[in-house]
């Protein structure tokens, strides 16, 4: 065990926690009376949505801090948060679609929550593309920060603008006491484990981004030459 570095130890811990959460979901939580076993999707579906929002909050904060202070560490946190957030949004969407097929009879309905989650996914996938297509540096970080901030603002707006249509999605069930105690305990535990997993993933990604920035820095002189946009060839 001594051979593992701290990132590997954290990963092993996070995976073990997720396996424990899986155990709780399948063996501890009771089967839903109406929906049957498919309701067990709920635990990871909602947890990864919450983890994704947390990741995008990291993008928002990192972007805002970068715009104010030009601190590149903040930008690296934002980059890490966007990538991990897109992963968790993908998990939320895919699990939600499987659940919807069973319960609503269709993989997709144009409900407010589904539409805004899809828009969320598209915006942050776009954020990652912006990072890929810009030459790394101050300009790229500032542009991406603006994209991240607008993305975060747009999602509640999209959600609000579609809510007057009939919504299929169940409202928050945790707040209004609709969950039995065992289900609630399983959900809270799964949520905790998922947030730990997301935090570990962001930390590892932050380390990777730091190393990539250092590589850029070492290749500095060459980099300056290639960031110049060539004159348009007629």
């Amino acid at each position: 065990m001594n051979k593992l570095n701290r990132f590997e130890k954290a990963s092993v811990g996070a995976v073990a926690l997720m396996l424990l959460a899986g155990g709780a979901i399948f063996f501890y939580a009771p089967t839903d009376f109406l929906q049957g076993p498919v309701q067990r999707i709920f635990y990871l579906h909602v947890s990864s949505a919450i983890a994704a929002y947390g990741c995008f909050a990291v993008v928002l904060l990192g972007g805002a801090i970068f715009l104010r202070t030009e601190n590149y560490a903040a930008d690296r946190w934002a980059r890490a948060g966007a990538l991990v957030g897109v992963v968790f949004t993908t998990v939320t969407l895919v699990m939600g679609m499987l659940w919807a097929k069973k319960v609503w009879g269709a993989f997709w309905v144009w409900d407010a929550r589904l539409t805004s989650t899809l828009v969320l996914w598209i915006i942050y996938a776009g954020y990652l593309l912006v990072r890929r297509l810009t030459e790394p540096g101050r300009q790229a970080a500032r542009l991406a920060a603006v994209v991240g901030i607008f993305g975060f603002v747009d999602v509640p707006v999209v959600h609000f603008s579609v809510t007057w249509w009939v919504t299929h999605h169940p409202g928050p069930v945790i707040i209004n006491d609709a969950l039995p105690a065992q289900m609630l305990a399983t959900f809270l535990f799964t949520m905790l484990c998922t947030i730990v997993l997301a935090a570990v993933m962001i930390t590892i990604r932050y380390r990777i981004e730091t190393l990539m920035d250092m590589k850029q820095l070492i290749a500095g002189p060459v980099h300056v030459v290639i960031t110049r946009e060539p004159e348009p060839v007629q």
Binding site: L67, T115, V119, I122, I123, A125, G126, L129, V130, L133, T134, Q139, R142, L143, A145, V146, V147, I149, F150, G151, V153, D154, V157, V158, S161, V162, W164, E229, P232
Partner: protein, 220 residues
């Protein structure tokens, strides 16, 4: 320097340059007519279902015409590196941005002058003041967002790829509310007033936000 006068001067410069070349507006007008043509062949349209199909064709044509218009906003500045020169003047970056956005929205409105009557002409849908108001309100917010992201992608390699990817998701609120308003203006069920109220809210929100962000995008 008075920011309003600076913004008007920038907008005037862009519009004079468009007037001398007359490139964008005829191209956009032809583009929207072509979009209507494709809509006609893609759907089986008759007098009964026209009001339920025409709003969709309207927004598709408008959104893609908008992408073309805003994508070109910074093209001339980039090719001649004149943006740097403009930023060196005492005019604030926000005023320059507002001027570019104003000019781009005028071009898009000119394109709507062709699109809206052509839609009524080809599909027989009612043409009303309500329809014009809804489209104009959506244009304001779409122009502010479209111009901000055009400025962002102007310095990126694959700008033609990136502009739609970044802009379309942020336009969705305008398409949702504008779509609802246009549908009610064409006689489909739904509250017109509520949709117009939302459009005005979104316009205020995004005009304020883009003005705040413009400093970070243009300032260099």
């Amino acid at each position: 320097m008075n920011p309003f006068r600076a913004a008007i001067a920038v907008a005037r410069k862009d519009l004079v340059s468009e007037w001398r070349t007359r490139e964008m507006v005829p191209a956009l007008a032809q583009f929207v007519v072509l979009a209507l043509l494709i809509g006609n062949f893609g759907f089986q349209i008759d007098s009964r279902n026209a009001p339920s199909i025409a709003p969709g064709i309207l927004w598709l044509a408008l959104v893609f015409a908008g992408l073309i218009a805003f994508g070109r906003t910074f093209a001339a500045e980039r090719e001649q590196s004149s943006l740097e020169a403009m930023l060196m003047t005492p005019a604030s970056p926000v005023a320059i941005f507002a001027g570019k956005a104003l000019a781009a929205s005028v071009l898009l409105i000119l394109c709507e002058v062709v699109l809206l009557p052509a839609l009524s002409l080809f599909f027989g849908t009612p043409f009303s003041g309500d329809l014009v108001v809804a489209v104009l309100l959506a244009t304001i917010g779409m122009a502010s967002l479209g111009c901000l992201f055009a400025a962002i992608v102007a310095r990126v390699r694959a700008r033609e790829l990136l502009l739609p990817l970044l802009t379309l998701p942020l336009w969705i609120p305008f398409i949702v509310a504008g779509g609802q308003a246009v549908q009610s203006a064409m006689g489909l069920p739904g509250s017109y007033d509520q949709a117009i109220g939302l459009l005005i809210d979104f316009d205020i929100l995004f005009v304020v936000l883009t003005s705040l962000a413009a400093r970070f995008v243009l300032d260099e």
